[in-house]
Symmetry: C2
Subunit: 217 residues, 2 copies
């Protein structure tokens, strides 16, 4: 039953995101209003599916879109402050525990990636080291440091947008080991879902790359 719901959820999400991508490709995106047509397509689909199982899948997709949008907004806030173009949001039972952008430069802390910063903040908020049942939404595939931090925190699910290779392409000295590989090699129970709102997340790199004085590390 859970498997069936999951499959349906994946299918619905696939339809929504393909619709979104089609509208973007058709040039529906306009300057000054980010991806309105794409978002409208996704949310229209969410509203239009009204079967019981569909309701649940659509609600889950709607939540995922909303939380990833928060992570993207946070990453953009970081870019505007001269930080690196990464954002992450930790959510448990529908509540945002923490939403952080990368603060490596502003804190002079090489470990202060968006995911690690969000996990630390979520731990502090709950005064606990166990974030079981949480989902982390990350604009970019967590690097092995951040993936392992998710594992240690017992985060249940990682949803990411762009890929490690996208960050590497911008000059970040990534350890290019995918989350799927880390999960398999380390036998981690964390669920991993990539390429979610990938284009919007890749856009963050484009915006960052256009800024003078940007610094990769």
């Amino acid at each position: 039953m859970a498997g069936e719901r999951f499959t349906l959820k994946r299918r619905q999400r696939g339809i929504a995101l393909r619709a979104h991508a089609r509208e973007k490709a058709a040039g529906a995106r306009s300057q000054g209003a980010r991806h309105p047509a794409g978002w409208r397509a996704a949310y229209t689909l969410v509203r239009e599916h009204r079967s019981d199982a569909g309701d649940e899948a659509n609600a889950a997709l709607s939540r995922d879109l909303g939380f990833m949008r928060m992570a993207i907004a946070k990453a953009r806030e970081g870019i505007e402050k001269g930080q690196s173009p990464f954002g992450a949001c930790v959510v448990k039972d529908g509540e945002v525990l923490a939403c952080s952008h990368n603060v490596v430069w502003s804190s002079s802390d090489i470990t202060a990636h968006a995911e690690v910063s969000a996990i630390r903040a979520a731990c502090a908020r709950l005064n606990a080291i166990d974030l079981s049942g949480s989902v982390i939404y990350s604009t970019c595939e967590p690097c092995p440091m951040c993936f392992a931090a998710c594992h240690w925190a017992r985060i249940s699910r990682i949803v990411f947008g762009s890929r490690i290779e996208d960050a590497q392409g911008c000059g970040f000295s990534e350890l290019t080991i995918s989350n799927q590989r880390m999960k398999e090699l380390g036998n981690s129970p964390v669920e991993v879902e990539g390429d979610f709102m990938r284009e919007e997340c890749v856009d963050l790199f484009r915006e960052w790359s256009a800024r003078a004085g940007r610094r990769a590390y």
Copy 2:
């Protein structure tokens, strides 16, 4: 030339540590004074080799032993405070930049492993995110989070004592991916040297395991 020195250094270290292990096995270790015979053997060897190349190799070995001993002492301090049995020391140009034990429990921060804590402190001390040329001495093989933190910080060399499997054997939910595997998969330039003072570092787990109220995670 550098290769030759390195080979000699490795050989000398091998002799010293084997001598140390032999003395331990012969029961030279007494309660209340930790490994005095072993240490004496190592340091006597360090004093006795007086060829030019030998001097350099012995000095390097002597430094490595001293810094790892600091990491072990720091881990022991953590155990006494109810923390997990891990210590790490970051050294640059012979100067200790930071020496930390794991503070996951006391800080309610799942990312506050000894290595990450030491790297953060070293960054703060230098007000820099680049620790190139540094060596980290860790009582246990850095987990993938800590290995990747070392990579990001551009630490040049990792020296560790016990292995990830030793920590896992004590109940820590490790991602069992060795540093060598991480280095190869991620194509990291960091130099890795394991099993250094391994027995002394495994002893930390034994001490921790004997304590009431210990908590793995």
